[in-house]
């Protein structure tokens, strides 16, 4: 019974945040001179069409990977803002190496994924080492590493070095990865498009994340450290080692974020490679409370909002309104979670007080 009430209380937070976000959306639409109910209805109808839903799922795959990468760090209060640089550098390296070698299909794919994992792991480990050895704040070091990664890619992604001018466009890209390095799409019945094959790997990452966290010693140590650093240290868990491990693991997962695009769609890394997915990952991890299923819901909601906002342009409203909505959702959900936490703490205290009073002396 208490468990059920607790779950209901936990669900009030997202519900309240969603309500507030919709209220804000309605106000903005009203100010822009559109009919809020009709416009939101149009957006929802568009978003629920099968072809749109397929697009939403494809869009959500990298968001989910970035969300899990962020969630891994969040457990130890390590805010890995560097997911952005990690996945772009990893995807770039994977694209260059993937295009340079010729291997049979499964090996080729495995090599590319391994390169991405290792590059993401190594780039994040720099921030991890700086934190553990020199006490450098992770938020600051990863932001700086993002800028370094951007500069390095800009330097190497040049026709003089590792890239070439794409024929018939201004884009500059790496050489295309041969077909043996592509990930096959998951075909769907009917004429609704296909799902990016990387979904399988994303689901696998989610399951692995859950298993490691809940069924292994390392996962237990991470959770213990998250609850109380002092208690965990007293219990003999070495905080620095764990922080380094967590940061590097977060980076390795971040290394996968660019691969759905690279292996399933573009097959090359160009100037137009998507950036900023790392920040989306932070949002969806906050939204999903670091839970593998919660993060999946968060990623889906984010992708759904962005996709269904395409309709807004038809109504003469900038689709950038979604960015505000997303920020409002994040802000209101963290407040809502905090308030719910306080209410639960108070209930617990009352329950304990009653139990103590009622107990025989």
């Amino acid at each position: 019974m208490t468990r059920l009430r607790g779950a209901a209380l936990l669900l009030t937070a997202p519900a309240a945040a969603a309500g507030l976000a919709f209220a804000v959306a309605a106000v903005i639409l009203r100010l822009a001179g559109a009919d809020p109910i009709a416009t939101l209805g149009d957006a929802l109808a568009y978003g629920l069409q099968p072809t749109t839903l397929v697009a939403v799922v494809n869009k959500a795959i990298p968001y989910y990977l970035a969300g899990i990468a962020a969630a891994v760090g969040f457990h130890l209060r390590l805010f890995n803002i560097g997911i952005d640089g990690q996945y772009r550098l990893a995807a770039f390296a994977a694209a260059v190496i993937g295009a340079a070698v010729a291997l049979p299909a499964p090996l080729h794919l495995a090599l590319i994924v391994t390169v991405a994992l290792v590059v993401g792991w190594g780039w994040a480990a720099i921030a991890g080492l700086l934190y553990v050895r020199r006490g450098v704040n992770v938020v600051i070091s990863t932001i700086m590493l993002n800028a370094v990664a951007t500069g390095l890619i800009a330097y190497l992604l040049s026709p003089l070095r590792l890239a070439q001018q794409a024929p018939g466009s201004n884009n500059i890209t790496t050489a295309p990865i041969p077909e043996s390095g592509w990930i096959p799409p998951i075909a769907l019945p009917g004429d609704v498009g296909s799902i990016n094959g990387f979904l399988v790997i994303a689901v696998f990452v989610g399951i692995a994340y859950w298993l490691v966290l809940s069924r292994t010693t390392v996962g237990f140590e991470v959770r213990a450290m998250g609850f109380s650093e002092r208690a965990a240290t007293v219990a003999g868990i070495r905080a620095p080692r764990l922080a380094l491990l967590t940061m590097a693991a977060s980076g390795a997962i971040a290394g996968l974020v660019g691969l759905p695009q690279l292996l399933g769609a573009s097959h090359r890394f160009g100037l137009d490679f998507p950036a900023g997915l790392g920040f989306t990952g932070l949002s969806v991890a906050i939204l999903g409370r670091n839970h593998p299923v919660g993060v999946a819901i968060g990623a889906f909601v984010w992708a759904f909002l962005e996709r269904s906002a395409q309709v807004l342009d038809l109504a003469g409203i900038s689709k950038e309104v979604v960015a505000i909505l997303q920020a409002v959702i994040v802000l209101s959900i963290v407040v809502a979670y905090e308030l719910v936490r306080r209410v639960r703490a108070r209930q617990e205290r009352r329950y304990v007080a009653q139990a103590v009073e009622g107990a025989p002396a």
Partner: protein, 412 residues
């Protein structure tokens, strides 16, 4: 090497250890180097002016971070407050002049600072999460507002504003005629010294002067007034302050408001003095570099200023010729080599290798490539931040209650 000479190297005379001596010595070496390697714009008047213009926004962000952190709140949202300052500064500035831009930018930054206070102080949300969400909100909000306010305006787009007017600049009267002959004379160190003085004292924006004036003002407010004492007390021990009737919430709100206002002012500086329009992504992590200057500066306004100049100087490199950056690379390489040799003499082999490898790499790069390409210069301030934080002294003393939300026991 004989024992005497080693001892002489180990115990240097006291005057060599003074910061002023080191700055003068470093200046002389770099000046000679730039002359020998044919890179005339290292100490040019324009280059020094650019350093000033790139240091000021970082300084403002750093002072903002200082106010927040002295009250015990980490302001990761500084970047977002700066973004708000750039957008509102440009939006009001291009329509109604720089005065309006100044007010709008500071107001927007302050508003974001107060939202951060509402989230992290009132609601007790994790300070980092609150700050990060504000950065997202600022980025999303400004993009949306650009799509309304800038799209369709001549010379603007969703990512850029129309041109924004500049603040007036002032010069020390007479100094131009006095020192220009020396600047043009071509005498090795003297001409560079004249150029540095001219760069610092001619055509300086009034907003730059205001930014510099905010350093002693911040010190005075935080260390010499009752208000400042209370803010610092709240940052050190909020429970003790609270028991004496100093309400932590009130002073954290105040400090975050000031913090946001300073970051907003930094944003206004970026769109008016450092450039002449709003561009999306213009802040480029300067809010975070500002946070780094506070750590580098050990939560003290004077050292924060020094840090801002270091980062501002590297930030301004992007405006220099590629060969000039090459000269700096040589300077840095020589410095590393000197440290490596001294470590080797002190039989610290690990230290010798640690500094010897970058020294060799930098000198070899210069010998082979000679220039540093613009793409690599673009992250010079960020790399410097990383290196400075990694190698800086470690006896730091942050405010004791930094990052810890305050709640009374009675109302958790």
């Amino acid at each position: 090497m004989t024992a005497t000479s080693m001892r002489r190297l180990a115990s240097r005379p006291a005057w060599l250890a003074r910061p002023v001596t080191r700055v003068v010595l470093g200046f002389a070496v770099l000046s000679l180097l730039s002359g020998a390697l044919d890179a005339p714009d290292l100490f040019s008047r324009g280059g020094i002016g650019a350093t000033l213009r790139f240091s000021a926004p970082i300084l403002l962000a750093g002072l903002g971070a200082l106010w927040a952190e002295r009250s015990g709140v980490i302001n990761i949202g500084l970047e977002g407050m700066m973004i708000a300052g750039t957008w509102f500064g440009a939006w009001a500035g291009y329509q109604w002049g720089v005065g309006a831009g100044l007010v709008a930018g500071i107001t927007a930054g302050t508003a974001f600072g107060l939202v951060h206070a509402l989230l992290s102080v009132t609601f007790g949300v994790d300070q980092a999460i609150s700050g990060l969400s504000l950065n997202l909100l600022a980025a999303g909000l400004t993009r949306f507002l650009s799509s309304i306010a800038f799209v369709g305006v001549p010379g603007a787009s969703i990512a850029t504003s129309p041109p924004v007017p500049d603040f007036v600049t002032v010069s020390v009267p007479g100094i131009d005629t006095l020192l220009t002959p020396a600047e043009r004379a071509g005498v090795p160190i003297l001409s560079d010294a004249a150029a540095v003085i001219l760069g610092l004292l001619t055509d300086v924006s009034v907003l730059t002067i205001a930014a510099i004036a905010l350093v002693p003002l911040t010190w005075w407010m935080l260390w010499r007034t009752r208000l400042g004492l209370r803010i610092r007390a709240v940052g050190e021990h909020p429970e003790a302050a609270d028991s004496l009737g100093v309400r932590p919430w009130r002073y954290r709100f105040l400090a975050l408001g000031v913090s946001g206002g300073l970051a907003g002012l930094g944003g206004v500086y970026l769109v008016t003095v450092a450039s002449s329009l709003y561009r999306e992504g213009q802040t480029a992590g300067r809010g975070f570099i500002g946070l780094a200057t506070v750590i580098f500066g050990n939560w003290n306004p004077w050292s924060v200023t020094l840090g801002s100049v270091v980062f501002g100087f590297t930030d301004a490199l992007r405006t220099r010729q590629e060969v000039t950056v090459g000269v700096l690379l040589v300077g840095l390489g020589v410095l590393c080599a000197v440290v490596a040799i001294r470590r080797a003499l002190g039989r610290d082999w690990r230290g010798a290798v640690l500094f010897g490898i970058p020294a060799g790499a930098m000198l070899a790069w210069f010998a082979l490539v000679r220039v540093v390409p613009a793409e690599l210069v673009s992250f010079a301030p960020h790399l410097t931040t990383l290196l400075v934080l990694a190698f800086a002294r470690q006896q730091l003393r942050p405010p004791a209650a930094l990052g810890v939300p305050f709640r009374r026991d009675s109302d958790s």
